[in-house]
């Protein structure tokens, strides 16, 4: 019973919060609602019994990603409203609505096959984290390592991109660019 209540509550709240994210003109509001929406999504994960995933969601998203966003926002002017010209909002809503409609139709229909065999069944007697850990470090070891490397690369890339001076290039000879610029000027 409480599961039902929780589901509907979380659903309604996430929809509202994400709508605010998408619609709000203020970056700060948008980010705040996004962060709270993500917290609620971790709620879904807990309901679904994916405890570990829920925790990761909280740590990575709400913790790390949001921190990154807020740091990034310091570079931009966050207090000012974002000015956007929405030329074709009708198209946007039609497309969004259509995709929602089609997806909902698809998911509402009983189109799932009943006889799907679980590849990596869960074991309710042990904890979710243990289960996840075993699968992650056996079958998905290589993707896991790759993901780790990717994160490392992304971190370095982020540092370099954000930190380097804009008028200097570390990768190419600037004199070429200057020559091109000169040629453009003479034209």
């Amino acid at each position: 019973m409480y599961e039902q209540i929780a589901f509907y509550l979380f659903s309604v709240l996430t929809v509202i919060l994400f709508l605010i994210t998408v619609m709000s003109k203020n970056v700060l509001y948008a980010m705040t609602s996004l962060a709270s929406g993500m917290v609620l999504i971790s709620g879904f994960f807990f309901i679904l019994g994916a405890d570990f995933l829920g925790v990761v969601q909280l740590i990575v998203y709400v913790g790390a990603v949001m921190a990154l966003y807020s740091f990034a926002m310091m570079f931009f002017d966050a207090t000012r409203d974002v000015k956007e010209k929405n030329t074709n909002s009708a198209l946007v809503f039609i497309l969004g609505g259509m995709s929602a409609l089609v997806l909902v139709l698809m998911f509402a229909a009983p189109i799932f096959s009943e006889n799907i065999q679980a590849l990596y069944p869960m074991h309710p007697e042990v904890g979710n984290a243990q289960d996840v850990g075993i699968v992650l470090f056996t079958k998905y070891l290589i993707p896991f390592e790759v993901a780790a490397v990717m994160l490392l690369v992304a971190m370095i890339a982020g540092i370099i991109l954000a930190g380097k001076k804009m008028d200097q290039s570390f990768t190419q000879d600037m004199s070429v660019d200057e020559e091109i610029l000169k040629q453009k000027d003479t034209k």
């Binding site: 599961e3 039902q4 589901f7 659903s11 929809v15 994400f18 998408v22 970056v27 948008a30 996004l34 929406g37 999504i41 879904f44 994960f45 679904l48 994916a50 570990f52 995933l53 990761v56 969601q57 990575v60 998203y61 990603v65 966003y69 740091f71 990034a72 931009f76 974002v82 956007e84 010209k85 946007v92 497309l95 969004g96 995709s99 929602a100 997806l103 698809m106 998911f107 509402a108 799932f112 799907i116 679980a118 590849l119 990596y120 869960m122 289960d131 996840v132 992650l136 998905y140 993901a147 990717m150 994160l151 690369v153 992304a154 890339a157 982020g158 991109l161 954000a162 380097k164 804009m166």
Partner: protein
Amino acid sequence: MIGLNHYLIVSALLFSIGLVGVLRRRNLLMLFFATEVMLNAVNIAFAAISHYYNDLTGQMFAFFVIAIAASEVAVGLGILIVLYKKQGSLDLDELATMKG
């Protein structure tokens, strides 16, 4: 009783909201938020399927989605900062440099 379909529908709705955001937003930062919404919507679906089929694969995928989302944000924000320094704006419409 809450079934798999319920979760999937919620996921679909959230995904559509994200899509609307992607289409509607001109500010690159907002665009990033919208993509996060879409990614999270998909994660819900993964987790739900994982739960109802009693299979861990869905959760695995959700992990990787999160990992990718995190690295995307790292790199993406770096690019955004570079861009902002260069252009002084994050408006998509001013970024017509991809025209062939």
